[in-house]
Subunit: 359 residues, 3 copies
């Protein structure tokens, strides 16, 4: 594979590509959403998150319909949020329920309410057409919701496009250079995964035979060495990057253990990202040491990626080389397939919007 990253046809997504809105994105870790309003910009929209009195999560446009004051600066009154400017109150459905200075409440006085789904450690949001928000479109991830999995989750903010993060995750040849000895073992550097579209989605897989596994995982999982590891990656939506590692040991019959590393890149803007992630395993599920190892891995490795991607974002913003086009190599195949797939999804969504806008 060779050539430039973006062709003339614009069929490869870049920072000019509209964000895909008709999709579920992780908006917060559940533990972040409390009775104290949380302010967060998701897909370029300022949004306030809080919990109703029954504990369910709510999300509203963080901009009072009246005079644009951030609702997150106000306080809660039951399930409603009180604007800190003129005291207007909005229910969790976005309807204004009180205007202190008058009795009648115009129907138009409302803020956008966002559909949310809370599953496991994550709160998902839909910022697109509310009529299209269907819980069934949320890709099931039982490893984060079922009790027979051990799981951890994390979050950090990244001043870089989510596109680069998907590319990063689809080209593991960066492991030894970005993550050093911890992840940069030989099997990654020289890995030649099978990459292609499967069921309409980008799919990458590689089987490593007879490898050593990390000492922490070895201690927790009662496996007979050596093991084979099948690594699979799939990108079911722009919001989910699922990495599965399936370990098969040399017992007879073989034992199989799974460890899934899942990334949820949610665009804050086209050049900044809320980076959520989770790691789940189906062995040693109550092992605090395994939890600690997974949290340490995520916090170290994904921040190393973040540093790289932020450097790139800053360089692209200021370097003056109008003719520059990035070149691609073999290991970019997955990333380019993803960017093409994303460009097509974004274009389809824009076409639909234009159709709707027609008289």
């Amino acid at each position: 594979m060779s050539g430039d990253r973006s062709g003339k046809g614009g069929d490869v997504a870049d920072r000019d590509t509209p964000l895909v809105r008709n999709e579920w994105y992780v908006a917060a870790l559940g533990r972040e959403v409390t009775r104290t309003p949380l302010r967060r910009t998701i897909l370029e929209q300022d949004i306030v998150f809080y919990r109703r009195e029954d504990g369910s999560a709510a999300a509203l446009q963080n901009r009072c319909a009246h005079r644009s004051y951030p609702l997150s600066k106000g306080c809660l009154n039951g399930d409603a949020i009180v604007c800190g400017y003129h005291g207007m109150e909005f229910g969790a459905d976005g309807r204004c329920v009180r205007i202190p200075a008058q009795d009648n409440i115009p129907a138009a006085m409302r803020v956008q309410a966002y559909p949310l789904i809370e599953q496991g450690p994550f709160v998902w949001i839909w910022t697109g057409d509310p009529d299209a928000a269907d819980a069934a479109k949320l890709v099931p991830q039982p490893w984060f919701t079922e009790p027979d999995w051990g799981k951890v989750a994390g979050y950090f903010h990244m001043k870089a496009s989510y596109l680069g993060l998907h590319e990063n995750l689809l080209d593991l040849s960066h492991f030894p250079f970005v993550h050093g000895a911890a992840l940069g073992r030989a099997e990654h550097a020289g890995a030649k995964p099978r990459v292609g579209m499967r069921d309409g989605l980008v799919h990458s897989s590689v089987l490593h035979r007879d490898i050593a596994i990390s000492p922490a995982f070895a201690a927790a999982a009662p496996m007979t060495h050596p093991v084979d590891r099948l690594s699979e990656q799939v990108v079911p939506t722009p919001a989910i990057h699922l990495g599965k590692a399936i370990y098969t040991d040399s017992s007879d019959p073989p034992q199989v253990f799974n460890r899934y590393v899942v990334h949820f890149p949610t665009p804050e803007t086209r050049t900044s990202t809320h980076y959520f992630w989770g790691i789940a395993r189906d062995t040693a599920i109550d092992d605090a040491a395994m939890d600690a190892e997974a949290l340490a891995l995520g916090n170290k490795a994904f921040n190393e990626d973040r540093e790289v991607l932020e450097e790139i974002e800053a360089l692209v913003a200021r370097d003056h080389r109008p003719e520059f086009r990035e070149k691609i190599i073999d290991t970019d195949r997955g990333g380019i397939l993803f960017l093409r797939w994303l460009a097509a999804r974004a274009a389809a969504e824009q076409d639909a919007l234009e159709q709707q806008a027609k008289p």
Copy 2:
């Protein structure tokens, strides 16, 4: 009253509305203008203020006519200011009076001199057509100039449009939410002022009968309780927001006392404001405790407004909701009348400029 804040016709002023230049604006508190040059941007122009040797205030374009160095970085030589780059000197009328490196001084070598009027604690500036600068157009405010009034004045900078400040002041229903118990008494929250145009200006008034007044004012003013308070607001120019409180007590014949709170929002840019203010009373005029109470009131309450308006400005600048339109409620009537009146003034000034520009 209901509907959106801005219609298609653009007849309601917003951040795109040109600033009204042919008007007197407060540029500084008199005590800020000294023999050390003061730099301040007024209506998007960098200006230097200083005092002549006779004590009168002067204001010049803070940009040397020669090489754009800020004159405020230089020093005074008599009534002239010396540029710190090549030593060029400009008199308080803007004419160059010395070029060290040559004897002849081209007539074109001059900087704009701004008409100023100093009255009471305020220095007023005219940044528009100099030929139109008429002292008679400055709305008289004897409560800040006459000796039979006690008065205080203050200033702070606000990173928000002056438009929102006018709206804020014309809708007192924000009092309990922004200013808390100190100002948020019941009579404000439920007040239904009579709002309309009077003599071509926005006017709002409300009569509160049998109310308690602040303990400090009660201690200073020998009134027989309870009292009636007539609150009137008028916006004579984009630069002045006059609030009158007229107290009438239950003596026979009744005593009448006045307390005026006046706001002077001077645009620095379209999204930042020099917020000057003054409070005057015609009782206890030499009472230092009353002065202190008024200063404390202004510094606390107006900064609370500032915090709200700055939050709105920041949100508007970054929130991506192209279709969003603010909704209006009954208490916005005064604000909307003001914004329409201001849009008309700005449009008339632009029309006149275009007429002048025609051959």
Copy 3:
């Protein structure tokens, strides 16, 4: 001389004028370039500098051809630089020499390599058409390369256009106002240099007779007082501003000593500059006190100029006076001649580029 700085014809260079790329510019002091990569933006391009194992300096596009990671974040491997993202290596000629994840290396996988020349304390770079990079076009400056001269060199960053620096240096009437007593002696303030074009270049000269020279220079140079000083300035390229001071004493036959102050303004962007400078003398060449005096002079005086130019740049960026045009005086003659000459050079370069772009 009078009138406005820029006419309608755009024949005087300003911040909109394209940068002249087909020219040698100082990119670094030699001592800055080591085996640790140095990142610096030159003429709006992010560039990495380092030394090969043989000690020679190299400069590459600081943007990996693959995924835009700054190469300066990586490390050196022999004469190649290793990208810190996927481990790609680029030789000092810009060609990719290793892609860890694959064996074949596409010919297009390369970064721009910049021609460099190291002479004396300076490393020069050519960012224009590589085929036009001719060492013979570098104006010889033996006073910085030959052993019979004492020399010092310095560098600082300036948030201001290099154009203003050239103007500043061609109008010494700023000396008493910007540099105070140290440089602002009477002979500068009242100097009337002869200014014009000579051999197609801006040239300025002035002869001061019977002057005092600085005590430090007097101590070092065995001159019989008083002395005459011939000051000459010439701007051979946009990147070099050469000031010669030639001292002739009252001995019989007279002794002649030279002291050259040379400025190298390299645009970082159109509004920021790498300000390199050097001072050389042909007397007391090994005198550490003379070196120290020259370094102190440069660090003090040129930083005073920097402060002035940065104030101007900041003012121009924010002051809203669309009709404003700077006025010119007699002492601007040299600066205006330079800006015209530069506008012509930039226009010629743009014309040539457009010719090349034609089919």
